[in-house]
């Protein structure tokens, strides 16, 4: 994944990247792997720098296109966690457009609606999200989660 220029550029623009190799950085791999319960490789964590709390996790290999979708989800979830709901909604919307048809897009459709609701207090955002799932990504767990809204 990493020698790919698209992935590398995105990571360097959006993150401070830390690599902990099981042999080369064995002590920190064990210490931080224990702290964050990273039990498999590759495990990619996105961590908030002020709290050191985990914001998103990617476990296992993914092809580049899917990996990019998951990285973008991580950035969007971090915005949601700091309650920047407008930014989160925008980012989730971009994931739906860029990665349409993917697992990331289905998750983004769900969280876009939740972000709008959290940002506006308007429950129609959730009803609208449930309706969108009847049109697209119907067979996903995200559709099941949204089904309770209408």
């Amino acid at each position: 994944m990493y020698p790919n220029a698209t992935v590398a550029e995105f990571i360097e623009q959006h993150f401070v990247p830390v690599r902990l190799h099981v042999k080369e950085q064995a002590d920190d791999f064990k210490r931080l792997g224990g702290r964050y319960n990273a039990q498999w490789t590759p495990t990619i964590l996105i961590v908030d720098p002020s709290s050191a709390e985990e914001r998103f996790r990617i476990e296992g290999f993914l092809p580049v296109a899917d990996f990019m979708g998951q990285l973008r989800l991580g950035v969007a979830h971090a915005a949601f966690a700091r309650q920047d709901f407008a930014a989160a909604e925008r980012m989730f919307g971009e994931i739906e457009e860029r990665h349409g048809g993917s697992d990331a897009a289905a998750e983004a459709q769900y969280w876009s609606g939740v972000s709008r609701y959290k940002g506006t207090g308007d429950a129609s955002a959730l009803v609208g999200t449930a309706r969108r799932f009847r049109e697209r990504y119907q067979d996903t767990n995200w559709a099941k989660k949204a089904s309770v809204w209408g």
Binding site: V18, L32, I44
Partner: protein
Amino acid sequence: MAVQRREITWTHDFESALKDASKKGRQVLIDFSAAPM
């Protein structure tokens, strides 16, 4: 079309990365890896 390659500049110091990321307004990405070096 050939895939363009580019290497990431990794740090191995998590605590320093937290400070650096805080200054830059970014998140930290940790890669727990067992890939051949």
